[in-house]
């Protein structure tokens, strides 16, 4: 993507600041339900950006990112329920565990430069395997784990009002956006992109593609797991399907793809558009399971065929047409 950010920097940062202020104060006036929607938008925007670092920037498409999400969620929950370890600590430790898993998967697939399909399926196999293992061996098995409701217990990551969860996830979103922004404007990010564009050519100009792919998956898996812990604490429940099911991965992939992969704002834009869309079918056809996934499938196909660079890409194309007039 052309770095228009350089040209429009001050306008963009002004808009960003306004949105930030709105974002921090606005929800005070909203209903619990609307805050919930905002939380979901931000959470999936966050997760989408986590995926984006590996997929959109470095070009390695993981179809099993739920594995990291679930590891984070299950670890902190298990440690809290069994050992009363504060989920804030569990959050961090779970992310490290997920990162170890990510590095292992990365090492396995990137070692011999095996191609994209291979990595995609390996990650899918990983999340499926974890789901099966959780079903058969994890505390709670298929039924999952209920986190005891304490009302207000901030030290153990529980709040009585949704708005506090909102502020946590807002902070996470800001954090990951800063990470993405830093990556975007650094040699690291440039190298990621070169690997995405043409891995062999990148190797030829001295870029250690293996090293950078490993770095990418390390960052991606760690940050994704944080989202897993957040979600478990938010709904006070986790089970194999919520943790490791394909729908989590799909939500993560769709945001950057729709919004614009390999960008800072793409995942958030994708989430702002997608989350309401996925809520809609639940109203119109509340008994139809899986309708939202069908819609997602259609959106993926349409996006790939007609706007491969996502909404941001479309926007850029239109901008160029207007500018060259």
């Amino acid at each position: 993507m052309i770095e228009l950010t350089k040209l429009f920097y001050s306008t963009k940062s002004r808009i960003f600041l306004i949105l930030l202020i709105l974002g921090m104060i606005g929800p005070i006036f909203l209903s619990e339900y609307l805050i919930h929607i905002l939380i979901i938008i931000l959470l999936y925007g966050y997760l989408g950006q986590c995926w984006n670092i590996l997929g959109g920037y470095a070009g390695q498409f993981s179809f099993g990112h739920a594995a990291f999400f679930g590891v984070g969620g299950y670890f902190s929950t298990y440690m809290y329920v069994k050992f009363q370890l504060s989920p804030w600590i569990g959050l961090f430790l779970g992310a490290i565990l997920a990162m170890a898993l990510g590095l292992f998967i990365g090492y396995l697939s990137f070692r011999y430069g095996l191609k994209g399909f291979f990595f995609a399926l390996l990650t899918m196999a990983c999340s499926e395997t974890l789901r099966i293992l959780a079903q058969n061996w994890m505390l709670g098995k298929s039924a999952g784990i209920l986190i005891p409701l304490q009302g207000s217990d901030p030290l153990n990551f529980q709040f009585d009002k949704k708005i506090f969860y909102y502020y946590v996830v807002l902070a996470m979103m800001i954090f990951i956006s800063l990470v993405a922004h830093k990556i975007e404007h650094s040699p690291l990010g440039h190298k990621f992109k070169s690997i995405r564009e043409d891995e062999e050519a990148a190797e030829t100009i001295g870029i250690n593609t293996m090293k950078y792919k490993i770095i990418a998956i390390g960052i991606s898996s760690f940050t994704t797991a944080l989202g897993g812990t957040f979600y478990a604490q938010y709904i006070l429940f986790i089970d194999p399907h919520i943790a490791f099911g394909t729908n989590v991965t799909v939500e993560m992939i769709l945001r950057p793809i729709l919004g614009g992969y390999g960008t800072v704002l793409g995942p958030l834009i994708g989430s702002v558009i997608l989350t309401p869309i996925s809520e809609l079918p639940k109203y119109i056809l509340p008994y139809a399971m899986g309708i939202d996934q069908i819609v997602y499938g259609v959106i993926i196909i349409i996006t790939i065929m007609f706007m491969p660079n996502g909404i941001l890409g479309l926007f850029e194309r239109l901008q160029k047409r207007v500018l060259t007039y």
Binding site: L133, N136, Y296, I300, I301, M305, P308
Partner: protein, 292 residues
């Protein structure tokens, strides 16, 4: 039953299902070889085959093996249309786009099936369902034997089709060198659609063959995808023989896992463990995963 008997039983059982895995993988291999696209939704097409056979049996009392005459053409048509309208447009896109597209197809198929038919598991009860052939100490379920036999026959037929017929030769030409094939007057786009149709038909046929002894659910494709993937890694996305052999090996491994490892479905992760071992020790697969 002592351990040896159990093991032998698992071996035979696994071998038979392995033939079916091989058939599905052959379809995948063909598509990849010709179009250079990996069909993520391959196992979802297999699921459609399962449901077609189920409905033929339930509504019209058609024998599952006879329903192959229904499922194969339908899946072929389905695959042809998917290739023609969707995949054809992204042939030159980056491979990530292709992954995503077939993944999107997977989502639509699986959840469409869920929407239409619900998550209740379906199976087909035939007269031979309980029939077992006694070969010495082993009990060979007749249905699995028949499935294996059909899978094998279909694989051989496909092989001959590609070798002897004009269409088959055109497919092989297009897969070797697209531009040359075009210059020779071969309608490459149509060949691609045909190849994809055949690939899906293989999956659909496999589905029809196993529903008599497997339960069909909309998401069963996810479970199979895991297994098929390991077959691919083992056998390589290049050869028929590799696909069949890989299928059988994985079938056996999985069978052993299910037999000897406690914990319900845990046994299904045996193929995955094998896969990790193969990657660590011999990453080009047992038969050379060329083109992967």
């Amino acid at each position: 039953m002592d351990i040896a008997q159990l093991a032998l039983q698992a071996l035979v059982s696994g071998m038979l299902i392995g033939g079916v895995y091989g058939l599905v993988t052959i379809g995948l291999t063909l598509v990849f070889g010709v179009i250079k696209v990996v069909n993520f939704a391959q196992c979802s097409f297999m699921m459609i085959g399962m449901y077609i056979t189920f409905w033929c049996f339930k509504l019209f009392d058609i024998n599952p093996y006879l329903s192959l005459l229904v499922s194969i053409p339908i899946l072929f048509m389905l695959g042809y249309l998917v290739e023609h309208f969707l995949i054809n447009h992204i042939l030159d896109a980056i491979h990530q786009a292709q992954l995503l597209l077939t993944f999107g197809v997977l989502l639509i198929i699986e959840n469409g099936a869920n929407f239409l038919w619900g998550t209740r598991s379906r199976t087909v009860e035939v007269a031979l369902s309980k029939a077992v052939l006694h070969l010495g100490p082993i009990n060979v379920p007749v249905l699995r034997l028949i499935a294996f036999a059909f899978a094998f026959i279909l694989a051989i037929s496909l092989f001959l089709f590609l070798k002897k017929t004009d269409v088959g030769k055109a497919i092989r030409a297009a897969s070797d060198d697209r531009s040359s094939a075009e210059l020779m007057g071969i309608n490459v786009r149509r060949i691609y659609s045909i190849a994809f149709g055949i690939g899906c038909a293989c999956a659909g046929a496999a589905g029809s063959l196993i529903i008599p002894f497997f339960h069909a659910t909309p998401y069963i494709g996810d479970v199979f995808l895991l297994t098929i993937f390991v077959v691919v890694v083992l056998g390589g996305l290049g050869s028929f023989f590799g696909a069949l052999a890989g299928g059988i090996i994985i079938g056996i491994a999985e069978s052993f896992g299910v037999t000897f490892i406690p914990g319900g479905t845990t046994g299904h992760i045996i193929p995955f463990i094998i896969f990790i071992l193969v990657i660590l020790l011999k990453p080009s697969g047992l038969f050379g995963a060329k083109g992967l």
